[in-house]
Amino acid sequence: MYMTKNVLRNLFKKSATRLYPLEKREIFENVRGALDIEIDKCIFCRACQLRCPSQCITVDNKAGTWTLDPMACVVCGVCVAVCPKKCLHIGKQYRAPLLERGLITHQGTPRVPKPKAAATAPVVPAEQNAEAEVQKAAVATPAPVNTEAATPEISETVAEKPVEADISQAAAAAPEAVEKPEATGTEIETNAEQILETPQAESEKTEVKPDDAEQKKEDLSA
C-alpha cells in the first residue's frame, strides 16, 4: 500500500536531490567553511601555531609571514578562539578543491621596528604598542590554555627582542631588508619540512625525553 502511494507521490514531486553544480544549496549560518586571516592585524605571536591541533600554521615572526597548509587544516576553529588580535576568521564558504598540495603564505609587516623607520615619528608608537600588546597578550592567554605551552614562548619572545633589534640595526642599511615586506599576497610553496619542524615539537622533545624511559617501562609492565 505504501508502495503505490509512494510511486504516485514520487511521480509528481520534485526530486529529493539537486543537480549540484547548476543548483547550489544555500549555506547555513555558522558553517565552518575555510580559515582566513587579516594579516595586517596579526602580531605574529604564534599563539595559533602552538594551539593548532593539526599543526598546519607556521608563523615566522622575523620575516612576518603567516603560512597555512590548507589541506591539513581541519577547520576546528581553535586558532580563531586563541588569537589575541582576533584577526583569524572562519568563512562560510568551503575551500574549492585543489589539484596539488601547497601552502598559503600571507606576508605582513614584522613587528620589530627598523631603526631607520623608528626615526620617523608616526611609526614608533604604533610599533611599540604592538610590542606591548604582545606581552599583554602573552601574559593574558585565555584560561583553558595550559600554561606550560605558553610560558616558554613568552620567555623566548622577550629574550629575542634585543637580539632582533641588533640584527635589524645592523641590517638596516642593507637593501635586502627592504625587499622582504614587498612580497605580499599568497605564494604557494611545497616544503613540508617547515610544518614538521614546528617549535612546539622542539619544546616537546625537551619535555618528553625524561619521561620517555618511564613510559616505556610502564608500557612493558602493562
Partner: protein
C-alpha cells in the same frame, strides 16, 4: 567434503571498511572464520604523547568518522573526572542533543547499508534521504556535518539558538513521520524477513559470555546500555533500553530501528527542558597526576576511555576500547554454520566500524 578458504574483504562491495575474514567453507557452509585486522591502524592513541590534552579532543574525534561527537564526549568526561569538574547544565543538555543526533544518523546510515547488503537498494536510499535532515541539523548548529568539534573539557564550545531549537523540534517531527513510513518495509516485508530472520543467531548466554555490547547484546535479550549510567542530562529522564529477544540479524535491525525513535524522543525531551546557563567552566593548568575512565553509549555499543595523567600537559596513556572490538568474537560465533550468501548480512548486523577498532 573438501574445504576451501575464501577471503572476505578487506575490499568487498558490501563492507564500508576494511575488515578481512578468512572463511573456511565446506560446500557453501562456513565452518570456520579467521579474522585478520590491522589494515587501518593509525596510532592515534600514541599521539597523546605529542599533542597536548586539549588538542587530543580533535584527534579522538577522528577515531570514528560516524560517531565522532561521542568519542570527544567520552574523552572529555574522563578528563573532567581527573580535574574534578562538572559541565554546566546547558552544556550537559547540548551534549546529549548532539550525541543523540549522532546516534540517529549513525543508525540511519547503518539501516541503509544493511538494506543494501541484502540487495534492497531503494530502501537504502530512502533511509539516507531521512538521514540528510539530521546532517543538515548538524551543519546548521555545529558548523560541520560529521566531525562537529563541539565538546571541550568542561563544557561545549557552541550554543544552539532558541530559533534553531524550535527548528530542530520541527525537523524531528518530519524525521519521525518519514521514518515511520519505512517501518512496514523494514520490519514486515517478506524479502527483508527472509534474508534476516534466523540468520546469525547469537544466544543470550553466548552474547554475555563473549562480551558483546550495544545493539548486538540488546538484540539477544540483555537490557544493558551505558546510557543507564545516566551521564550528563540523561539523569533527568527515565531511560529504558530497547531489547529484543530473538538474537538474530532481524532482531538487531529492530533494536536499531527502535533506537532511532527513542533518540528522537530524547532529543525532544532535552529541547523542551533545556536550562539556561553558561556553556563551559574554565579549566586551569594541567590535570593532577592520576587515572580516570569513562564510558558512553556509542551507536555501536559501549565506548570506554581510560586516560592516565602524570601532571604534564601530555597524557602518557590514552586507551580507547571501542564497541566493534568487543563485537568481533560474537561475530565469529554467528558466522559459524551459516551459508556463504548470508555472510555479508550477518557481518553488517554487528555494525562493524573497523577504523574505531584499529584506531
Amino acid at each position: 567434503m573438501s574445504r576451501t578458504i575464501i577471503p572476505f574483504g578487506p575490499q568487498h562491495p558490501v563492507l564500508p571498511e576494511p575488515l578481512h575474514l578468512k572463511l573456511v567453507v565446506e560446500d557453501e557452509i562456513v565452518s570456520e572464520v579467521i579474522p585478520n585486522l590491522g589494515y587501518v591502524h593509525r596510532g592515534l592513541e600514541m599521539l597523546s604523547r605529542v599533542r597536548d590534552m586539549h588538542q587530543m579532543i580533535y584527534v579522538v574525534e577522528r577515531v570514528c568518522g560516524i560517531c565522532s561527537c561521542l568519542h570527544a564526549l567520552a574523552y572529555c568526561h574522563a578528563l573532567e573526572k581527573l580535574y574534578g569538574l562538572e559541565a554546566p547544565p546547558r552544556a550537559r543538555y547540548l551534549r546529549i542533543i548532539w550525541g543523540e543526533l549522532h546516534r540517529m544518523h549513525s543508525h540511519l546510515l547503518w539501516l541503509g547499508l544493511y538494506a543494501e547488503s541484502f540487495g534492497f537498494e531503494s530502501l537504502f536510499l530512502a533511509f539516507w534521504k531521512v538521514r540528510e535532515r539530521i546532517m543538515d541539523i548538524m551543519e546548521a548548529t555545529a558548523g560541520n556535518r560529521v566531525v562537529i568539534s563541539t565538546n571541550i573539557i568542561g563544557g561545549v564550545r557552541r550554543d544552539i539558538s532558541p530559533e534553531n531549537l524550535r527548528w530542530i523540534m520541527n525537523e524531528m517531527d518530519l524525521v519521525e513521520k518519514e521514518f515511520r513510513q519505512l517501518m512496514s518495509t523494514m520490519l514486515k516485508d517478506y524479502t527483508v524477513e527472509s534474508r534476516t530472520r534466523g540468520k546469525g543467531y547469537l544466544s543470550k548466554e553466548d552474547a554475555y559470555a563473549l562480551g558483546a555490547c550495544g545493539p548486538t547484546l540488546r538484540g539477544s535479550g540483555w537490557a544493558i546500555d551505558s546510557r543507564m549510567l545516566e551521564y550528563d542530562a540523561l539523569k533527568d529522564f527515565s531511560f529504558e533500553p530497547v531489547v529484543e529477544h530473538d538474537g538474530d540479524s532481524y532482531a538487531r535491525g529492530v533494536v536499531r530501528f527502535k533506537e532511532v525513535l527513542q533518540s528522537i524522543g530524547i532529543v525532544r525531551e532535552c529541547i523542551s527542558k533545556i536550562p539556561d546557563s553558561e556553556l563551559s567552566v574554565p579549566v586551569k593548568g594541567n590535570p593532577p597526576a592520576g587515572e580516570a575512565w569513562s564510558n558512553v553509549e556509542q551507536p555501536r555499543g559501549e565506548l570506554l576511555y581510560y586516560v592516565k595523567s602524570d601532571g604534564t600537559k601530555n597524557l602518557p596513556r590514552v586507551r580507547i576500547r571501542t564497541p566493534t572490538f568487543a563485537n568481533i568474537p560474537p561475530l565469529l560465533v554467528m558466522l559459524k554454520g551459516c551459508e556463504l550468501a548470508d555472510v555479508p548480512v550477518i557481518t553488517l548486523s554487528i555494525d562493524p566500524c573497523i577504523s574505531c577498532t584499529e584506531r
